[in-house]
């Protein structure tokens, strides 16, 4: 099928099998390899992207289901190589260690902050509960999201 997507503000028009996973379309057809595969069954959240404002696991979504949608991936967060406040907060707080969950974590955090500009730590825990991290114990990820929320507020 022809699929039309707006990915990171850029319209993309591609020819793909309709049941191809959005994750594979992003990684293979659009060469956006920032979105990762950790389990392939929607448990780890490493493949999280925002589709029309909602966080989804891109490993569970066939591309035909999101034809015409707007997609945000980790590559869409920084502008001209400059980190956005959320990325900067992750860097400063130690929210990224091995980095493999980081793209999905940033996307989940971004979706939270879009909905709730001043989340509590409990809100943050809830928002990233679908994103597994094995390195950090989550403490510094939560710190980073908190710091980013404060930075954006002021």
């Amino acid at each position: 099928m022809r699929a039309a997507l707006i990915v990171n503000n850029v319209p993309r028009d591609i020819s793909v099998p309709p049941m191809k996973r959005l994750l594979d379309v992003l990684r293979e057809d659009l060469h956006l390899t920032g979105t990762k595969e950790g389990c392939g069954e929607g448990e780890c959240g490493a493949c999280s992207v925002i589709v029309d404002g909602l966080v989804i696991n891109s490993c569970l979504v066939p591309v035909c289901q999101v034809n015409g949608s707007t997609v945000l991936t980790v590559e869409g967060l920084a502008s001209d190589g400059r980190l956005n406040p959320l990325q900067q907060a992750f860097l400063e707080c130690g929210g990224a260690q091995c980095g493999i969950c980081t793209p999905g974590m940033l996307i989940a955090a971004r979706a939270l902050l879009d909905q709730n500009a001043a989340p509590t730590r409990e809100d943050i825990k809830e928002a990233i509960a679908g994103n597994l991290c094995r390195c950090t114990g989550y403490v510094k990820i939560i710190d980073a999201i908190e710091q980013a929320a404060l930075a954006t507020e002021t």
Binding site: T35, K36, G38, C98, T102, L132, G137, Y138, K140
Partner: protein, 770 residues
């Protein structure tokens, strides 16, 4: 916070070197890399725990012309993966010793095609009776290794055990069981092999490029130069990418060699959990003599670990377990017997802690049991027996420096308000009516950093420092970044040793054709051991540069301070300018150094006694839990941890290690359990092998205690593994405080806790708590 541009980087929370790439999605992990002409490889594995291959049939109706097939006959060298005993074949020849053992390799143009082809391979086995448990192995139900199924044994003896028991007022016995644990790095394992005319290049996710290098050289008869191993950005390791990557690398290389094209192998999660190594399960028995006021007089400990079907790293895991088995306590009469046994299960291997978390759960639960039997507060029992500076360990090592034992215990207890909370909780639980009960417990632990015994002295880890033509310093080391901060910390050490800015230091990619062998990235050794070697290399480079500058300006000597060469208090020239000038005039400036043990460190490998590690790190955890008395679910609500790691080169990274390791240990204690069925893993998926999410994570407070180690870089000790040792026993102690039920086996699942509670007085069981 602006990017740190100043000097004196050690102790500062500088921004991690590869942080930007990881935050933008630019960092390339192995599955993000595509090589022209690349095929996709897949491993066909055994489906029986023990048997003999009768036949391997490639479906004759299927078109195999598009598929590359390789088996053990394609290996040019000997068919083993080089490690300690070289007993593990790269591919099965005829005998199968565990499920998921690699037998056949296939590769094709696309992932779909290789998956399709895999469905057309049929392997027929003559099944043989397997040994699947420690008990069956010890009983020699089948004898599959040597005469008794024992891979390795260690005996540690000190003092007179009989006299020790004779001096005891009481003898306390306990048996403790610990399970397999999966590392569960979020990036599954993977490799790409690229065949050249004479050389073979392999890149991928790994902790130890030189392990892979050694394995490839042997399997493919390659020279040092012709085996090239490159670590790509690695999405977590925790020990799981210590030894297994050698196998995947060689599988990819074998297919690549046969195809004459690059081959990529990426495991999916199910294959990764099923076939790669895990933490050794074990049974630990303690028999302890104590005086009525709580002094340990004798300690007899029996450890049995399940090694799986091949030896791999088991002897070293067992050794660390044996050495740590008594815990951080004083006891003059000790006998520790440690054995690792054969079973027809996938080989167990390295996982953060490496034998220590297993024995730590046992020794800390034994302390809880002793405290309960004597009626002494557990904290008091620890205080009576803990090792202090000048004391002697189970292997006869006198602790002469950097002993933060009391400091961590006091810090964790003080900050958590342990004593006050425990009194409140005991009063609350004495009423015995709540359906949700609170509990609090502590643990106290230590961890030897670096290789055990004479390992580091034998290894003589190497690292180097290069001054580049651009006037920058570049670290040359085979130590890898796996998220823990190697790249950043080495650069901090070099910046301060040279006296230049952190931003003027960079690090070479871990590529065996460009960096020396610094030893594996394991054993909490990267900062403490390799960091020290990096520091020495930098010192040597600095000496070359400063004497060049002194000569250049006609001065007797010059110093490098904050990026400027100075003599007699006068600035002579900048670092970059002089570095460029040196290279232009004299050519390459590279300095290398090797590790040498600190003075006075002495280990006797035959007697298994002496200085097992040059220094120890120390930790104490206080865990708070809530137990639902209807469902028996345990929630860990808070952990306060204090850890003495020597100088924290980077406090945020160090705290990150402590928090991450602590949460893995919470998973170990409460959640993580593999379910086996005749040698197969039933739950090899993230849907049913449960690791902690953000909602399972307790609130954590981390206190870093810095008892400087005189022979570490800027006083640093090891930090990576220590945090894995403490949380599981602290949680079990808290569950005991909440329920009165003593659970000697982890994970403490609701089922296990229910059984333990039902064994208590009848009025507590089932709905009786109301």
């Amino acid at each position: 916070m602006p990017n740190f541009r100043g000097f004196m980087a050690v102790g500062q929370n500088v921004l991690r070197k590869e942080g930007h790439a990881k935050l933008t999605g630019e960092a390339r992990y192995i599955d993000d890399i595509t090589v022209d002409g690349m095929l996709f490889g897949k491993t066909i594995r055994s489906t029986v725990p023990r048997g003999r291959i009768r036949s391997i049939e490639l479906d004759p109706t299927y078109d195999w012309s598009r598929i590359v097939v390789a088996d053990h006959r394609d290996i040019p060298g000997a068919n083993y993966v080089a490690l300690i005993e070289n007993d593990q074949p790269l591919l099965v020849e005829s005998e199968v010793y565990h499920c998921y053992e690699p037998i056949l390799l296939i590769a094709a143009e696309t992932k779909d095609l290789v998956e399709e082809a895999a469905r057309h391979v049929r392997i027929d086995y003559e099944e043989l009776s397997p040994v699947l448990t420690i008990e069956d192995s010890l009983a020699c139900v089948e004898t599959l290794h040597g005469t008794d199924n024992v891979f390795k044994r260690f005996l540690i003896g000190r003092g007179d055990i009989d006299r020790g028991f004779a001096a005891a007022d009481r003898i306390v016995e306990g048996e403790y069981r610990v399970p397999h644990q999966e590392q569960l790095y979020i990036e599954p394992q993977g490799m790409i092999a690229i065949p050249g005319e004479n050389e073979m290049t392999v890149m991928g996710s790994m902790q130890c490029p030189y392990y892979v290098h050694k394995a490839l050289k042997q399997l493919f008869n390659l020279s040092d130069e012709n085996a090239i191993v490159i670590q790509t950005t690695t999405g977590g390791g925790f020990g799981g990418k210590e030894e297994y990557p050698s196998t995947i690398a060689a599988h990819a290389a074998l297919l690549a060699r046969k195809a004459g094209r690059p081959v990529k192998i990426i495991y999916d999660r199910a294959e990764d959990i099923a076939s790669t190594t895990k933490r050794h399960p074990g049974v630990v028995r303690h028999r302890t003599g104590v005086t009525r006021n709580g002094r340990l007089t004798a300690s007899e400990i029996d450890i049995v670990l399940d090694g799986g079907a091949y030896i791999t790293l088991t002897p070293v895991v067992l050794s660390r377990g044996a050495i740590h088995a008594l815990g951080p306590y004083r006891c003059d009469n000790v006998r520790i017997i440690a054995r690792a046994v054969y079973t027809n299960t996938p080989p167990n291997g390295a996982f953060r802690g490496f034998g220590a978390p297993q024995v730590a759960f046992a020794y800390e639960m034994q302390m809880e049991r002793i405290a309960a039997e004597l009626g002494i507060e557990p904290l008091e029992l620890r205080r009576i027996n803990l090792l202090r500076e000048g004391d002697i360990t189970a292997t006869g090592q006198r602790l002469s420096w950097s002993v933060g034992s009391e400091d961590v215990l006091n810090a964790a207890v003080g900050r958590s308000r342990y004593e006050e909370k425990k009194r409140d909780i005991e009063a609350e639980n004495a009423m015995g009516i709540a359906c949700r009960r609170r509990g609090i417990g502590l643990s106290f632990f230590f961890h030897g950093a670096g290789f055990t015994g004479g390992g580091e002295a034998k290894m003589k880890a190497q690292a180097g420092l290069e001054i580049t033509a651009e006037g920058r310093a570049r670290v040359l080391s085979g130590s890898t970044e796996i998220g823990q901060g190697t790249r950043t910390i080495f650069c901090q050490i070099v910046a301060d040793e040279l006296g230049i800015g952190f931003d003027d230091v960079e690090i070479e990619e871990p590529d065996t054709s460009r960096v020396p062998d610094s030893g594996p990235t394991v054993a909490s050794r990267t900062t403490m051991v390799v960091g020290r070697v990096v520091q020495f290399a930098a010192r040597e480079a600095k000496e070359k540069l400063t004497s060049f500058v002194a000569e250049r300006f006609g001065m007797p000597e010059a110093k490098l301070v904050e990026g400027e060469f100075v003599a007699n208090g006068k600035a002579l020239a900048g670092f970059q300018e002089m570095a460029r000038e040196y290279i232009a005039q004299r050519g390459e400036l590279k300095a290398f150094a090797r590790y040498a043990s600190p003075p006075g460190i002495d280990w006797d490998d035959d007697a298994y006694s002496g200085d097992a590690y040059p220094v120890y790190s120390w930790g104490a955890d206080v865990a708070e839990v809530e137990v639902d008395m209807d469902t028996f679910e345990v929630t860990c609500t808070r952990i306060t941890t204090a850890q003495d790691i020597g100088r924290a080169i980077h406090p945020v990274l160090a705290a990150g290690q402590i928090e991450g390791g602590t949460l893995q240990a919470v998973g170990y204690g409460l959640l993580e359990e593999l379910v086996w069925d005749r040698g197969r893993i039933v739950n090899n998926r993230l849907t049913n092998y449960i690791i902690p999410t953000s909602l399972d994570a307790p609130d954590m407070e981390t206190l870093i205690v810095e008892k400087q180690y005189p022979h570490g870089p800027f006083g640093a000790k090891g930090v990576g593994e220590l945090p894995m040792d403490g949380a599981a026993p602290a949680i079990a102690a808290a569950v005991f405080s909440a329920t009165g039920a003593f659970v000697g086996e982890i994970p403490i699942t609701p089922e296990r806790l229910q059984l333990a509670i039902e064994k208590l007085e009848p009025q507590i069981n089932t709905d009786g708590h109301r």
